[in-house]
Symmetry: C2
Subunit: 696 residues, 2 copies
């Protein structure tokens, strides 16, 4: 990432060719300046390349380069990698295509490429990658044509640089160019190509610790290695560097397109959402949103308790921003009463609630705007402020007066995020930015970006959970039956509906007395799968005589309907009345491992896909947050005249199941409790059915 | 809207003042050019204003102006309006503020202003309005400062002009300036201020029929007159002019803000959604989206069956667009097999499914791009095509070659919408646009805008429903009880669960035989509200003896538990088994009148607010579309192992209820059938309960 010397294997004298561009870029951007021999073209046919002394082969290099570019085809590239490793080179960036992206034969070649680097421990970026740059060093091992329209910008005073990590070369380079054109500093770009060795996670992890990068923008089609990805996100959060991510393949159509594009593993998109949310990553829906969030994040202000104050000269735009803020959950509390009074005295027809509309009257007396904005920050206490001034930000008759007023407020409150929503040509926007303002034309986009700053702040403020070593739970050799599955989960701390397998009518009565009436009686037989179809379930048995009678009746029905079935006895269980049916589960994601899942049963899951996921294990607070995030949560919270459900007991069961999921190891494919019956507050939650699916 | 002469009452010699700007603008834009006396400043203190001969009073004007601007305060404005009317002026634009927007006293003044115009029939725009312009005539009766940064653009060849109608002056003028800066032609802008006389609907209606405007952009806080608004939308649809609307106040926060801003009536936002959807209006969520849709709509291509083809040089961007298309319901069918084969032969590593990724290989041979794009149009048959070429659209080394290739395809297919997603400075974009291309940087925004073109096309292709005169249905003097409500609805064509009120056990048995077993028996008493609490409902009576027994039992229970209750007999009703519970309703919206409503019962309505609205009456196809739009629709369509429900019968009941809603007149506040029990296919749907709420 920060080499002192670079070899270019396949260096071309033609600065527009793949093997020529990196050399030309590095020469133009001063990489080798003052360091004789820092750039080492390798070309068997020329004494110099682009004016730089060249070497005939890797073996002929006078010293081991810190890094090397490999821009030669097929087998020769593999040889070059082996030679570079032998020479002592630290890392190679392999542009060469024709590897795993082309099919099986290519994948085998890629395995040999990786093998060639292994003996020396040299790291690889690519193959089939566009390359990377670290502009702070003038280091440009990349063949993108993006620089025809301009070089990466240095970060402005007080602003952080955005590092771009992308699995796609074309998209990464598009992102760089779009960022540059918006005036966003992007000191580092890395595209990872086929990820034979280094992957997106490694790059994010490096950026988390690098001085060059304060904001991380990532593009992913699929994550190959879950633990490495999570370690990278943890590092970024620990360094308080926001990660803004475009993860494509959200839709069915998109997943199909992603598969035709690369061999990425696209798991359940909701699992990805859950993992990103866990670490406070902002998942952008559009490229523009990604850039918006990066743009505002450069400022480096991440309020743990965000709130939005809006000062506007258009009441209409104020309403529009209120709609937008509610849609993204950014609170817009009203101004304090006293402050409202003060502002109303200043401008009689103003509406100083929040949005604070200072009306077109401010056109004549702009000191009003300064007073209003200052009051929003000091009296309203908003962490984020949008000032909507449309063309006033550009008009010669308004812009200078407006700037004078707002600058005072900005300078007095460096801990707040000020964002101007103005309509102005780029050169005018640059002037505002030079004064320290953030500028965005569309106020709705501004709201979305500001909301993200608060979520980053909340994630940074959260104490990272200490990794806990859970003792591994021994599992049976094959998937257990329902009764055994229940016993395993009970041992893991999940309360079951009280039940007992009984061999005699006396046993059954004793069990019922212990459990408490009314009870349910079910015939117990491994050979009778659909008990209720043969009348094998009796509900609502309220006293000893009924239990005794029921025991006999079940035996008789079983004999009548299934004369050959093995009968293990009768199951006596408490009849749970008035519980809400919840589905709890653990599913093993191929990338991220065991994920805890909770949802309301029935239509909520089947029709609305209303479930919440989080990596196992979860603690009580996390479990409760998952439960509260369900759209169907009101049903647990007293909707439709039902008593409030025992959410604490439900959360406790989710915690226990998630810890079981984490401790059970990779053989646990899934665990499902459906239904878990959640009783009214204080009365608990009990598993009524359970399935464990194990692999060999 | 197209005056030949204009008086300016309160004309100022200072071109930056409210009374000075319109005169200065019209002089600069050639309004009066060649027409001596077309501009008539009225100012008692000056012989000329801005060089134009002035008149001391309205009475002193040499002729009746077609239109007049009123830019003088308070009472004098009212007098000016009266004088202008008396003189024979056609319309006045009243800038003056201090009317209804300031409270009750102002509202009374506004009533007098309107009164002043009434005798002559002169129309009013405003008061408290920013004004309007019709740039095709140089007519600028407006005091916005927006023109400091540029005048409205004329429409480019082959492109339509966008008319802006706005209830907010500041927002309307922001919209104009933002459109201008994006190169969108806006020949007409009208801001409506307090809407004492002319309102937003009148302006939309005028634009629907005007030559100047081909696309209508509207901003609304609240609609005052439902029928006028609907007539305007009908006119726009009939003229095949798309309407793009920003209606703020979607959220609770936004509604509160809207109320503090103006006195707009903000009804149920879902009703507004339903009305806009009925006429194919695109409701934009953000200003940017509004401008995006207008930008693409200028092209005037509205495919009734839209489909999207994507040609890209970045697989990643292709996946991103697939995600975006699925999110907005824009179909992206795959390329035909044969065409895929053809393209694969052309570029071996390409992925020609759709998105069609022609890969960076096209950099060397751009004829590939032309061939790919042509194949998408002719073989794929896509109505809309996005070409994602990022910086290639601006780079000197790529842009000219790219333009040559794509221009051929564009020119050969003038019926398709071509949109380039490129990263280019404004001046480069203008060159592409001059060639007839649409350009948008963000591909996701492009997808949203293209999807809107298809919805416009579908709305334009729909035959407008012939207005039907429904005979008014007589209603009782007060809200009827359940039995009477059911009878009224039965007469309106809604099937009821068969039932009969019975006075004797014999009656009950006869009724049960006629209805068919099993039946339900309920005690009938106006004094027993909660029948089931006293055991007053018996289910599942399967034969005559059970009915006879039940009759006696119900009477006895009623006597025991409510000795003083009046007993009207026993209700015998068919016991409907296996029906899905649906809620049907009609609610009278204060703005749009009776709205038909359908939703699945229970949690669907209470937790998910999963209901569909449409204005009464609806026909069978519209009713079925409403039902299918419900998120819970799968429950009627065989989800969870249930048989498919009789959706046709449900739709028929919805049609009948909606026709009742339309015919019942304004005294019907609401009608509710909850539940309507929908049986399996072919078995019908029956109302089990009904409530009619009438007003005096």
């Amino acid at each position: 990432m920060r080499p002192r010397s670079v070899a270019v294997v396949g260096a071309s004298d033609d600065a527009t060719r793949i093997g020529g561009r990196p050399l030309a870029y590095m020469l133009s951007q001063g990489f080798a300046q003052g360091r004789e021999g820092a750039l080492m073209p390798v070309n068997p046919n020329r004494a110099t390349v682009q004016g730089v002394p060249a070497f005939a082969s890797v073996a002929a290099l006078p010293q081991a380069p810190d890094a090397a570019i490999v821009a030669i085809p097929g087998e020769a590239a593999i040889q070059a990698v082996a030679d570079l490793g032998a020479k002592g080179c630290g890392a190679a960036i392999v542009f060469t295509a024709g590897f795993a992206e082309t099919g099986e034969a290519g994948a085998a070649m890629q395995a040999r490429l990786l093998e060639a680097a292994r003996p020396s421990g040299m790291r690889l970026l690519g193959p089939n990658c566009l390359g990377m740059f670290n502009a702070t060093l003038g280091y440009f091992p990349i063949f993108s044509a993006s620089f025809e329209n301009g070089w990466p910008r240095p970060a402005a005073r007080g602003m952080g640089g955005v590092g771009i990590a992308s699995q796609s070369g074309a998209y990464g380079s598009h992102l760089f160019a779009a960022a540059r054109d918006r005036g966003i500093a992007t000191p580092v770009l890395v595209t990872t190509g086929n990820e034979a060795d280094l992957g997106l996670s490694d790059i994010i992890g490096w950026m988390a610790e690098s001085e060059e990068v304060q904001v991380i923008a990532a593009y992913a089609e699929g994550i190959q290695n879950g633990p490495r990805f999570i370690a990278a996100l943890q590092a970024a959060r620990a360094a308080k560097k926001p990660v803004v991510m475009m993860k494509v393949g959200r839709s069915a159509l998109g997943q199909a397109a992603a598969q035709s594009h690369t061999a990425s593993i696209a798991g359940d998109d909701r699992v990805m959402d859950a993992v990103l949310a866990e670490f406070g990553v902002h998942r952008a829906r559009t490229t523009e949103e990604l850039l918006d969030v990066c743009y505002v994040a450069q400022r480096g202000i991440f309020p743990a308790r965000n709130s939005l104050g809006v000062v506007t000269i258009s009441g209409g735009a104020g309403v529009l921003m209120s709609d937008a803020a509610e849609a993204v959950g950014l609170p817009m509390p009203p101004m304090p009463e006293a402050a409202q009074q003060k502002l109303k005295e200043l401008v009689p027809f103003s509406s100083p609630l929040n949005p604070v509309d200072c009306t077109a009257q401010a056109f004549n007396d702009m000191s009003v705007i300064g007073a209003f904005a200052e009051s929003m920050v000091t009296d309203g206490g908003y962490a984020s402020v949008i000032a909507f001034f449309t063309q006033w930000g550009a008009s010669p008759s308004t812009a200078p007066r407006l700037r004078a007023e707002l600058k005072k407020v900005l300078d007095a409150h460096p801990d707040r995020i000020f964002l101007l929503s103005i309509l102005a040509p780029l050169e005018r926007v640059r002037e505002w930015e030079a004064d320290g303002f953030l500028c965005m034309e569309d106020p709705s986009r501004a709201v979305v970006a500001l909301a993200a700053m608060g979520r980053f702040g909340a994630a940074f403020a959260e104490a990272p959970a200490a990794a806990e070593d859970l003792a591994e739970i021994p599992l049976p050799a094959v998937s257990p039956n329902e009764a055994d599955a229940k016993r395993i989960l009970e041992a893991a701390g999940i309360p079951l509906v009280p039940e007992a397998a009984c061999q005699s009518a006396e046993d059954a009565v004793n069990a019922a007395e212990a459990i408490g009436y009314p009870v349910v009686a079910k015939i117990l037989s491994p050979d009778i799968l659909h008990k209720s179809e043969i009348g094998g379930v009796l509900l609502n048995l309220g006293h000893a005589a009924a239990v005794r009678e029921g025991f006999a009746l079940l035996k008789q029905r079983a004999r009548a309907h299934a004369p050959n079935a093995r009968i293990d006895g009768v199951l006596i269980a408490r009849q749970v009345v008035g519980g809400t049916e919840i589905a709890l589960g653990v599913v093993r994601d191929p990338v991220f491992g065991p994920m805890a899942m909770v949802g309301l049963g029935g239509v909520f899951i089947e029709i609305f896909a209303d479930v919440a996921f989080r990596r196992c294990p979860v603690d009580a607070a996390q479990a409760e947050a998952m439960i509260r995030s369900l759209r169907g949560f009101p049903l647990l919270d007293g909707a439709r005249g039902k008593p409030k459900a025992d959410v604490a007991a439900l959360a406790q069961a989710l915690v226990a199941l998630s810890r079981f999921g984490a401790a059970a190891g990779p053989r646990l494919a899934s665990a499902e409790i459906n239904p878990l019956l959640v009783l009214p507050e204080g009365q608990g939650a009990f598993a009524a059915d359970a399935v464990l699916e194990l692999t060999d």
